[in-house]
């Protein structure tokens, strides 16, 4: 348990020393979300209709953008090898890194999302559901993303390859996340979607770190 906390603290400290990296992910999200009204026109009804999908896809892409850095820095300076040699299961280390990744990507995105939702003229309850669904769904994205990041570690064209591997696996999270916002907007209870999203997150956070740890071992061989 201590290992996980230790890794989280370490990764957070490293991330906070480079605040520009953190901010660029958030600004990417803002820019993508702002491009859509410019592309499809400023009609409020249309934008409100598009908002759940657009904001969720934006959050998904923003999360994905920060994935390559999850292991790369530690891989190149050799810290990852030391972590792999340490007398703890590598899965715990990956779990810590996954949670740290979520804290610097998923969490700020969830806080930012309602603000962007206002631009799309979403009603108050829906804004809450939007933030909640992103809060609930992004840990799964970080978990699945860790597998992709580990598999593409040190490869040429790793970033593009990573998106090719990870995006198809993100589809269920997108469906239920955007579905929850959509449901709340049309006056249906979003609980079913949120429960499924929670299930994906529990499954993703529980199992993905072990698969990612196996992938790291392959990369470190």
């Amino acid at each position: 348990m201590n290992v996980i906390l230790h890794i989280i603290a370490r990764d957070l400290r490293l991330a906070l020393r480079r605040p520009a990296d953190l901010a660029s992910v958030l600004f990417f999200f803002i820019i993508v979300a702002s491009l859509f009204p410019l592309g499809v026109g400023p009609e409020t009804d249309l934008l409100r209709r598009l908002a759940p999908g657009v904001l969720w896809v934006g959050a998904l892409l923003a999360t994905m953008l920060s994935l390559p850095r999850m292991f790369a820095d530690d891989f190149y300076d050799g810290a990852l090898e030391q972590l792999a040699l340490a007398p703890y299961p590598l899965g715990f280390v990956v779990l810590g890194k996954t949670l740290a990744h979520w804290l610097v990507s998923g969490l700020p995105l969830a806080i930012l999302a309602p603000l962007l939702g206002l631009q799309f003229d979403l009603p108050g309850d829906t804004l809450l559901i939007l933030a909640g669904s992103i809060l609930l769904g992004t840990p799964a994205l970080s978990g699945i993303g860790a597998i992709g990041a580990a598999l593409t570690l040190g490869l040429r064209g790793g970033g593009v390859l990573l998106s090719l591997l990870v995006l198809p696996l993100y589809i269920p999270v997108l469906i239920f996340g955007a579905g929850a916002v959509d449901a709340s907007m049309s006056g249906i209870s979003p609980n079913a979607h949120l429960f499924l999203l929670a299930a994906l997150t529990v499954g993703g956070v529980a199992f993905a770190p072990w698969a990612a740890a196996a992938a790291l071992k392959i990369a470190l061989e």
């Binding site: 597998i147 598999l151 790793g158 390859l161 591997l165 995006l167 469906i175 239920f176 990369a219």
Partner: protein, 259 residues
């Protein structure tokens, strides 16, 4: 026959190579036979559908291709699991040999589906649950191929690909059901692919023979491709060198000159 077959023997590429070479012609012959029977039943014998006219005949290709596209991914994941568990070289080669054929059938399935959809539904593409998940399956195949091709070391490529295939096969049911629920929530069931089992027996036979033909074709092509991969990866070994000098027409001359 109580003779015990030593399966481990054929897990060695040097033993598998000649075995595959002997089997390939048989599978080609079976593929041709089943293909002729299937197409004959499907295109000439089977009656015209009273609802869909002649256009329905595309299912003789479409259904088999869809089955194979999904089945090949499962087989690929099976070899991947074997490769990770037993650390056998041949398993990774089989997975690598299967992927391009899987892509082919997924693409054929999507394309014939579009050809069928245009006259029946009036659209090349609808976001039907099955079509969407078939499209996602294509993405998964592409991801597998892209990953294994991006890694230069074949052993690492095999292992990384194997892990991805296993993650993919766990996710396929999740993706399928999420797409299905998404589909039913977002649009009414305006189109339905299910035609029930009211299909005439002769159509079913034609479809089965076509599917069998594709199955045999897959085995023949995959074995051929696996042989190519074996030669490429084992080119530094003694048995490949002797094999190549035996078969190559130029080699004896080179040897004679050396003498």
């Amino acid at each position: 026959m109580t003779m015990k077959i030593n399966w481990y023997k054929f897990s060695a590429p040097s033993a598998f190579y000649p075995l595959a070479g002997k089997l390939i012609p048989w599978f080609w012959a079976l593929a041709a036979l089943f293909g002729v029977v299937g197409l004959w039943l499907g295109l000439l014998v089977a009656p015209t559908d009273f609802q869909q006219g002649e256009g329905y005949r595309i299912i003789f290709v479409h259904v088999g291709a869809s089955w194979m596209s999904m089945f090949i991914y499962v087989v690929m994941a099976f070899w991947a699991a074997i490769g990770l568990a037993f650390n056998t070289r041949l398993s990774g080669m089989m997975a690598a040999a299967l992927a391009p054929t899987g892509v082919l059938f997924t693409f054929v399935s999507l394309w014939t589906g579009a050809f069928w959809g245009k006259p029946m539904w009036g659209a090349w593409w609808v976001w039907d649950a099955r079509m969407t998940s078939e499209l996602i399956l294509l993405f998964l195949y592409i991801g597998f191929i892209a990953l294994t091709r991006a890694i230069d070391d074949p052993r690492r490529a095999d292992k990384a690909g194997a892990l991805l295939a296993l993650v993919g096969v766990v996710n396929i049911p999740i993706i399928y059901f999420s797409v299905k629920w998404w589909n039913t929530l977002h649009q009414g069931a305006s189109v339905s692919l299910s035609k029930g089992s009211s299909m005439a027996a002769i159509m079913l036979w034609g479809m089965l023979f076509c599917a069998l033909a594709m199955w045999m074709y897959t085995i023949a092509v995959v074995l051929t491709r696996a042989r190519g991969i074996i030669l490429e990866r084992e080119r530094h070994t003694e048995w490949v060198k002797t094999l190549l000098t035996q078969n190559a027409p130029i080699a004896p001359i080179a040897q004679a000159k050396a003498k």
